[in-house]
Symmetry: C2
Subunit: 596 residues, 2 copies
């Protein structure tokens, strides 16, 4: 088992050189100096590497267990590791100071999240869900609810959950059936069952605050009848102390492929006289309220994928540098490490280049979110529009790639990769959930191709494509990078052409909805490849600048290799998606799905 | 959990319509009539579906356990299911009649193997290893060894293993250290440890025959010092009855990602006075003897991947036809099954089209093996050369794709895919070993690009490319298939161009070895895509012919959709590998691998 070292150097490269720390110049981030950010990253790296990472394998082996009393026993050490996180003040770093957080930029919070997910994805889910609850409450909760619940959630001493899914309502939440019956005191009593509730029950925090989609008895069918409710595990007294146990229980936990350290619960609401809950936001607007925060939750899932991909890189690199096997054609030594074989090196560089690229794009997206919230009036809309387009890409593309990177990590280990104790297999098992939850990657693709692209006629993405083209030109003007520039320019042209096809589909009232469905996933993949390659093109230019200024750190040479790989070995595969879209939807539309 | 129905209709389509049952016309297969083959497939389907498949999930959950007495307890029912296979006479179907088998063509044996692996991959490994032992003994064993061991192995009442890997000797077997000390009676005593021995210890058969790579004490270093030995678990008396337990024990079994029902053992030879063994073939030619049979074992691993991919299709199709969610744009119904959403259908058709394509190519390869053994003198060499080129493609491409297909199967299930009881996750876990064992897929790519391609200057592959071009022309001449033909012709051109680059690398004495390493994997992927697409192009033509003759079976319409998908939605992604190869090896060669 290899240790995990949080990728501080790589994160700093993105924050300082690719993003030029622009978030720090925004109003409201005056206290976030580069020195402070550096210190934050170093401290987070310690927590990730020393406290969270050592529990990753043991948490996987031990898993979670539902006790007879309905409680859930976490893997050994998880509660303490979570407490260390709370005590370090990490839960509030990205939360605004007005809500009791540290109000650091999203780029910094995302960097810290990446480290923690790389260290221990199962544990990282707990605060990820809490962050969603904070977001929902902060935007939509009444003052009374905010006053009672937010401080503890921001601190992390209470954790949050998202209760959306029911057996018949997954991707289609309009089918939610959980009932919320109004009481005379203005509260509600909830009855129903929710499944797949991440960190739905545990003892690592004093209280758990469930945010639950449900309908009032007289609510209309469909989306418009759904409201959002807050249901605490323990009721909270007027003085803020904890009162009685609410009528919500963990009926079972799931036996899953991965993230064994994260309890995935079936929660029963109202098995006795009803779970007491409070309306959050407007009646009938539950789905909208959820979606407010889902955008950012999706960004975080992308970040999570990158964390696991980073760890997979570290395992694979360490193994490949240690394992001797075969003869090196160059040195002629017959005890070379497998990292010397170019076929293995191809796997390593493919893993590294893609992880770097995904990270750069996800943090670029985070920087857009910073500007959207803190930028000047004119900048905000553009930044938000870019973030809106980028978020489904970051979520889906990062997580799909993370699965592939983790799988390649298994391959680098050869036979040892298939043995659980090596740890490579766990990363694949853990990563496999990320393309599914928080909206499947198919849903992300539809969000991009259907909703985000159509509503502004592609304006936001067109703006990004212009930036890609500018980078391509800059690369092309530089002899050393000319081939990269050519490849990137071709990618930009493909993305532009594919975008027009998707927009055209959107204008077709008859078959448009089907065509968008057919094109969505290849389109998202194309966008992901081009935008990630763009970031690596920028990385190559920055690396050249550093090298030209006399910096001979091997880091920059490695970045050049990663950029070359991303633009010339990886991007061409992504570009093929244009042809896929051009092939149209006929074979899909005509296909009669019948049992095999 | 969905049942498994062996894909008899699809197998028959390949055997009867794509391969036109040509193997049956070869000398030696006179008794193998189309009717007999059909009956064999139907009977095998029963064994697979009714006896082996129901144990797949329970075998995964229960796994294997090493007992204190050094024995291994198999999952419940595995020994009985194996006995049913032996009693049905299945073990010898592909073995020549001279050796006591049924002597059916390889295309038929491969079809049966696919069904059994789809039903229960972990159990399917047992006879797969036995087949390797039979092959090695039949080709290289002395008459005495053959007489004593072959009948029982062919019958299946004894099983075989392959003992190659040692902790320091995996892909590089020249590092094998196990010692074989000659005894006065002509036998040997073996001392050493072998790891990752599939079905290395169990009670499902009366005896286990280990084939072991080892060196005599005075043997030279490297490959040339390695010989092959037969080491039975129980010594065999002169009258054929079982004698004493030999000095080989199971030291431990591995805790693996998948194939839990297959005991993967560490075997200790000679912990007491040495494990008695017998030389197989020539001294110092152990690796060559192993490689004789490895070619075919690799084909079988490819077949195994296809079996698992088929099962993943069946699970995903059944789930997608059952799960209602969302609104169909076409019918407007808001309780449509998810198979109605084109994004889901894209996943389903992608799984199905690729599985069909892989199967067709693997059986085409099997047909070449039939001709290589039974064809007329002039045909044999060409067929063998084609099989030699195809085998690494079938092994590596089928298994890489199988992992991806199984992963897509998980995705189709949404959240349920991540829950172990659904069964989709097991298929991904099981499939993940296939790109690793029997020579990693990187080794396969090197075998193709380095060895197979270079030794005949690409002649065999060029012959295949000509056939691809002919099919492309035939498609292009047919209005309905013109777009497919165009795509296939472009693929053939890419493969031809890439082959020239690989051959050029082979002529470069300085950097050629590195360049071949750098190009090998993308080259194999390109070849796999083009050759599989070729088979689907042929399938489209056959389906059209059937439809033109008035056959309105929905099967043929589905085949057309699968062919269109394979040629126009899948092949473009594979074609991108040409650009990857054209990008050269510089970024790989320059890359300094350092710890992350």
């Amino acid at each position: 088992m290899f240790p995990f070292a949080a990728p501080v150097r790589d994160l700093r490269f993105v924050l300082e050189e690719l993003l030029e720390h622009r978030s720090l110049d925004l109003p409201g981030f005056e206290e976030a100096t580069p020195d402070l950010v550096e210190a934050v990253l170093e401290e987070a790296a310690k927590l990730a590497g020393e406290v969270w990472a050592p529990l990753n394998a043991s948490g996987d082996r031990q898993g979670c267990m539902r006790r007879e009393d309905g409680g859930v026993t976490l893997p050994n050490g998880f509660a303490e590791a979570y407490q260390a996180y709370v005590e370090g003040g990490w839960n509030g770093i990205g939360v605004s100071e007005a809500l009791g957080g540290q109000g650091l930029p999203e780029v910094v919070a995302s960097s810290v999240q990446e480290m923690l997910h790389g260290a221990n994805m199962a544990l990282g889910l707990c605060p990820m869900l809490t962050a969603g609850a904070i977001e929902a409450l902060a935007h939509h909760g009444s003052d009374a609810l905010k006053e009672t619940y937010l401080p503890k959630l921001v601190e992390g001493s209470w954790t949050g959950t998202m209760n959306l899914t029911e057996p018949q309502a997954g991707s289609d939440l309009s089918k939610v059936r959980t009932r919320a019956v109004p009481q005379e005191d203005g509260s509600y009593r909830l009855f129903g069952q929710k499944i797949f509730i991440t960190w739905g029950e545990h003892d690592a925090s004093e209280n758990i605050i469930h945010l639950v989609l449900a309908r009032k008895p007289d609510a209309p069918e469909g989306n418009k009848g759904i409201s959002l409710f807050l249901v605490p595990k323990y009721l909270v007294n007027a003085d803020g102390s904890l009162g009685e146990r609410n009528d919500v229980t963990c009926a079972s936990i799931e036996h899953k492929l991965g993230i064994h350290g994260s309890p995935t619960c079936t929660l029963s609401f109202g098995e006795n006289d009803g779970a007491i809950g409070y309306l959050v936001g407007e009646e009938g607007r539950g789905l909208n309220h959820m979606f407010t925060m889902m955008n950012e939750a999706r960004h975080k899932v992308g970040i999570q994928g990158i964390g696991v991909a980073e760890r997979a890189c570290q395992h694979a690199f360490a193994y490949a540098l240690d394992r001797t096997q075969g003869r090196s054609p160059r040195s002629g030594r017959d005890d070379c490490t497998i990292s010397d074989h170019l076929d293995v090196r191809r796997m390593l560089l493919s893993m590294r280049a893609r992880t770097d690229a995904l990270r750069a794009l996800a943090l670029y997206c985070a920087a857009q979110l910073d500007v959207a919230r803190h930028g000047a009036a004119g900048e905000r809309e553009v930044a938000q529009a870019r973030a809106d387009v980028l978020i489904p890409v970051v979520k889906a593309f990062s997580t799909d790639q993370a699965v592939d990177i983790a799988s390649l990590g298994v391959q680098v280990h050869g036979g040892m990769g298939f043995i659980e104790e090596t740890g490579a297999a766990q990363l694949l098992r853990d990563a496999r959930i990320a393309p599914i939850y928080e909206g499947t990657n198919g849903i992300q693709a539809l969000d991009l191709a259907g909703r985000k692209l159509q509503r502004d006629g592609g304006a936001a993405l067109a703006g990004l494509i212009e930036e890609v083209e500018a980078t391509a030109s800059e690369l092309s003007e530089n002899g050393e990078h000319a081939a990269m520039g050519e490849s990137l320019a071709a990618g930009a042209a493909d993305l532009e052409a594919a975008m027009q096809l998707v927009l055209e589909a959107g204008r077709d009232p008859e078959q448009g909805a089907d065509a968008i469905q057919a094109y969505a996933t290849p389109f998202l993949s194309l966008a992901g490849h081009v935008l990630c390659a763009w970031q690596m093109g920028r990385a190559a230019l920055r690396a050249s600048a550093a090298q030209a200024s006399g910096n001979s750190e091997p880091f920059y040479q490695a970045k050049q290799a990663a950029a070359d790989f991303a633009l010339r070995h990886w991007l061409p595969v992504g570009r093929a998606n244009r042809s896929v879209i051009e092939a149209g939807m006929k074979s899909l539309a005509d296909y009669r799905v019948t049992p095999s």
